[in-house]
Symmetry: D2
Subunit: 388 residues, 4 copies
Amino acid sequence: MVTSLPKPTTTGARRRPLRVAMVGHAFMGRAHSNALRQANRFFDLPYEVVAQVVVGRDAARVEAARKKFGFEEGSTDLAAVLARDDIDLVDVATPNDTHASIALAALKANKHVMCEKPLALSVVEARKMVAAAAKAKRHVGVWHNYRRCPAASLAQRMIARGDLGAVRQVRAVYLQDWLSSAETPWSWRNDKAVCGSGAHGDLNAHLIDMTRFLTGLEFEAVCGVEQTYTKKRKDGDGKPRLVDVDDAFAFLARFAGGAIGTFESTRVAPGRKNHNRIEVSGEKGSIAWNLERMNELEVFRFDEPRDGQGFRTVMCMDGVHPYAANWWPDGHILGYEHTFVHTLADFVRSLDSALRFRPDFEDGLAVQAVLEAAQKSTASGRWQTVKN
Amino acid sequence: MVTSLPKPTTTGARRRPLRVAMVGHAFMGRAHSNALRQANRFFDLPYEVVAQVVVGRDAARVEAARKKFGFEEGSTDLAAVLARDDIDLVDVATPNDTHASIALAALKANKHVMCEKPLALSVVEARKMVAAAAKAKRHVGVWHNYRRCPAASLAQRMIARGDLGAVRQVRAVYLQDWLSSAETPWSWRNDKAVCGSGAHGDLNAHLIDMTRFLTGLEFEAVCGVEQTYTKKRKDGDGKPRLVDVDDAFAFLARFAGGAIGTFESTRVAPGRKNHNRIEVSGEKGSIAWNLERMNELEVFRFDEPRDGQGFRTVMCMDGVHPYAANWWPDGHILGYEHTFVHTLADFVRSLDSALRFRPDFEDGLAVQAVLEAAQKSTASGRWQTVKN
Amino acid sequence: MVTSLPKPTTTGARRRPLRVAMVGHAFMGRAHSNALRQANRFFDLPYEVVAQVVVGRDAARVEAARKKFGFEEGSTDLAAVLARDDIDLVDVATPNDTHASIALAALKANKHVMCEKPLALSVVEARKMVAAAAKAKRHVGVWHNYRRCPAASLAQRMIARGDLGAVRQVRAVYLQDWLSSAETPWSWRNDKAVCGSGAHGDLNAHLIDMTRFLTGLEFEAVCGVEQTYTKKRKDGDGKPRLVDVDDAFAFLARFAGGAIGTFESTRVAPGRKNHNRIEVSGEKGSIAWNLERMNELEVFRFDEPRDGQGFRTVMCMDGVHPYAANWWPDGHILGYEHTFVHTLADFVRSLDSALRFRPDFEDGLAVQAVLEAAQKSTASGRWQTVKN
Amino acid sequence: MVTSLPKPTTTGARRRPLRVAMVGHAFMGRAHSNALRQANRFFDLPYEVVAQVVVGRDAARVEAARKKFGFEEGSTDLAAVLARDDIDLVDVATPNDTHASIALAALKANKHVMCEKPLALSVVEARKMVAAAAKAKRHVGVWHNYRRCPAASLAQRMIARGDLGAVRQVRAVYLQDWLSSAETPWSWRNDKAVCGSGAHGDLNAHLIDMTRFLTGLEFEAVCGVEQTYTKKRKDGDGKPRLVDVDDAFAFLARFAGGAIGTFESTRVAPGRKNHNRIEVSGEKGSIAWNLERMNELEVFRFDEPRDGQGFRTVMCMDGVHPYAANWWPDGHILGYEHTFVHTLADFVRSLDSALRFRPDFEDGLAVQAVLEAAQKSTASGRWQTVKN
């Protein structure tokens, strides 16, 4: 991979700026802009990230976001921003149904692109994005931020170096509870036209990407079940609205090579706030990780003395752990937003190297293909092959 | 239901004996015989249980078992034992492929019957057993012992009284690791002819029964996936033998009324020794339970003050908890074998009452029907309806 | 050490009986008698334990206990029982203030003696018991049952073989909550004349014995603080009674060789039912154990790869763990009462060997000496040297 | 309390800047400067915090810190910085032995002051600082950051509103392991002249402040024990240096009103990285908190239905929890550095209000008084009264 940005000089001279236009400024915009501000404060990067312009539809809200998030400028004219020469990177932080069009426009304008997940609303859209990225020769990435939680990165390192042997089973759940009550108001997250699906696209997308990241395995076929418990909700104005996405979606998977897995996402599991948990069993060991205790990794290996075998709780904030040395002393934990900082830091590093940043659009497409096959299976009542 | 045993008089007079013949004396025989010895020591029961005769094939091993387990007599002649008038209850503790024939013979001989799980190797067999029990008007039960772990009984009580509202989702796993290594020798548990299946019949049977017990829901349709990672193992003599049962078996379920569930059993999850865990999500709350910490129940309910909501770890050894008052003071925990003592105590109580002992053969049949539908689905690649 | 019992022949011939007289039949009597019944069922022992006679003051209650606990006989005449030739072992399961007199009488009658903890109400009493035991050349033991929880025994093995290096720190708490409410009625456990102290003698006694067992260290000096929050309670008849023992008692300790420790016992820690927890830190590692999850041992060691270091949760029910192979398959947990079975089994084994059974009366005296020095320190306001 | 800063106008007009000079730029400087940058991004504050100037001794290191931490200027001349009119707040982030002199100089120069903990090296010094702050009528604070971990703030709220009833017992430990190995090099943290003490001043200071914060209780008397296991360590140049501070320090406490507590800090507890754990038992309930899982609070209360009582794990990232609404959706956890952001945000808010910011220098003095009394007790071998 090639980047047209000039090689940065990190010693002596001042770092070249990397100017970013962020499109969208809701929850994800808040997390992304924090990463833009923090990356250079904690990581030695080849560029100095500049939060240049935040883009939105409503001028007043854009200005409020600009102030709050610390951008230099605000704009309601995306085309004009894309036309500027000084913008290096476009960060797509909008709702799901606009990811594809914005990312394609940015690539056409020769920008690097970081896109929120899910990459697209369909495999067809995602394929176009992969093709456009390949043609543009720009760096692209998807904000599957949990890959860069230190404990998840550590798990990936352990599996990649063979600590568990061949992976045999994956069990992954992403449990939330904010739609348990029928009184929770309707929002765009209950609208299929905007989201494509409910818990499935929102949460299973994370599980699918994490599984591919941790294990290196590819999904071969899937079979699912979904349910919507509350079919109507009132919107902010008290008007009844149809819920046409799933509250809960579970699926089985077969992987190339013979491994199998179970996956479940739900927004109606009382008491589970952000319970994104994955357990991987291999021939020789297992790991388990849970976002709610994201600084800990559970590790089991058979190769210890038998009377002392057990799951170890590794506190992943020792200097030897991924990303940890950039932050605080041992045992001083990180939070949710740090995963975005790590993602951006690695993306910025990749601009200056031959390394392919992962997850890129091909990874985003792979996730989309699994999501779509699973949805097909709930309609057909049978297993569906996954086709990128 | 009717029992022909005379009403016991528990005050003043000595309790009438309940003489038991136990068939089989391996691991399960050890657990059952402990229950026979202990039940009257910790529970006030209408009969005095007598461990009368242990039955097996090999005279020497029967005698060793007799001594170790504290039976009055040993026998290698099942027919002769069944013909005796003084035997009230036959306890079937043999391998799976003989459950049906022994239980049918015992019912024919007009004995009460307690049978190890799974009830049978097939739905067809199980149906015959249900019919025979109905005809014999004897008390019958299945040793699904985990129902009577205090924490599981408490969970059932909470769900039944509406603490969680309508049940929406079940997630259940039974994870073990003793077949992880290809060096673990072949045994009858790897032999389909004896067991019917691998982790599926052995462990999923527990999950299915527990789900029905806790939620009161009936399985409507299932769809599964199974895998055998080690296809050949050496037996005790070093001879290579085919493994024709699953190492791991997962399935999705739809329940009557709209709830859904995920189920997985495996013997190849390193670090998981006896990780039989079930989580039930309802409209208003959730419970979670794990056999490895069997004295604890996790409970979440929305109806507490919002800033103090969270999963509670209930130590189920307070006098108000099921079975707890019969044992030790608060917080003095119970173990695996106590679940058998509770099962027997409740069975013996039922002999003297109009209460139907659960799980009985109908429950055993229901489990068998789910197991069989799931197996069918792995062959067909599609959802299968569950038919008792 | 010598035992006068004839060598048992365990093969071919029938085991010689070991007839036991148990004095007392309340909570502890229940636990002890269970051990008497179970030991031979799960352990190969040189003698067949016979629950011969239960001794108490009230004939009716003795008879009820006899039936419930499965003794051959009941008696209200301790002297007569001690005078019998066929009684081999006297088990003292009475309240604290009678331990010394009964044990001394039993030794005088040439019986082996197992005594409930605490051994005595004072160091002076305890010294007499040690002397009597030495003179009688009988086997004596104290029911510090938690030593023989598999996880605790495993911890002792690990420390003894040097897994942690030199022990530096001990932190031990025994937290209960049954006296939190001022409404909890007065009982003999609030009466200094019967108990000697409150949480201190009842619970700190366990912590002191466990510390000596696990670490092999001897207490050198201690300094404590105690508090009684509810000074009066109503007894069963509604009559107000003075509480003259501690609700909570904490103390610091210095050990021979330089290690230090913190100890706390309380009956007023809401939510803690039987939270007997000890953590030992050594040069190279740590262990932590909690009775409420008594089947698990937490183990940390520096000698693992640094990026995978963490506390391991060892499920102590693998065949390689102490006592585990005598019970159930991997991961099938044990409960409170098993610790008594293990204690008795080891005591019975010691009768047939040159091995000194531990804890014996010298160990009981050592515990008493620490308890007493700690009590002295709360009066004096300064550190007190521990003197056996 | 009065502040001379003009009232800010937060609507319409631009916020007035609050210019900060930070003295020191090591680990604590990193944490403080992050707070300076982040506070206005996540909190609506009456002033716009400006990271104006970082002050240190070495020009090159100051310049590196300036760039890394995002300050406008760097300086090696503290006096000159204090003489400037545009500096509003001096943030003391230097080693312990310089806190007093810098804070006193800043107050003399009429600046607001935030000071790292411990406030001073002695009670005498701390009293001077309290007096100077009172005279200067400036706002002062101590960076006891853990008070403002959401879970700790929630615990304080619960105790203050009476959820636990009267507090009876506190058990607090702060366990680390980085000095376990004799190979860990000597540093200023092993030097009494710089630190005053070892684990005691570094870690017990946190426990003492947290206890006062959570319970509102004042320490009355203390008695301690300390130990240094490794008396010599090599410094960075391989030169042997004396360790004249404690590796571990434990003490007992009596509080005004009758509560008691145990406290322990250590740097030699293998496996414990940043295990800052406190448990408070009251008449009616308990709370427990651990910095290593800082987003969770354990809460027990007797007033729930008895069969469902247990410790609840409250995930403190719901909008109703302290500080949580300023960050991310439910269950998206925070990390170590957020506690500094919260501390600064509250301090900045206090500048514009009549509210006394806590912890201030009087709180810092109170901590110092307990630390000093405990040190006295290890020398005297007896309890010491705490005197502010």
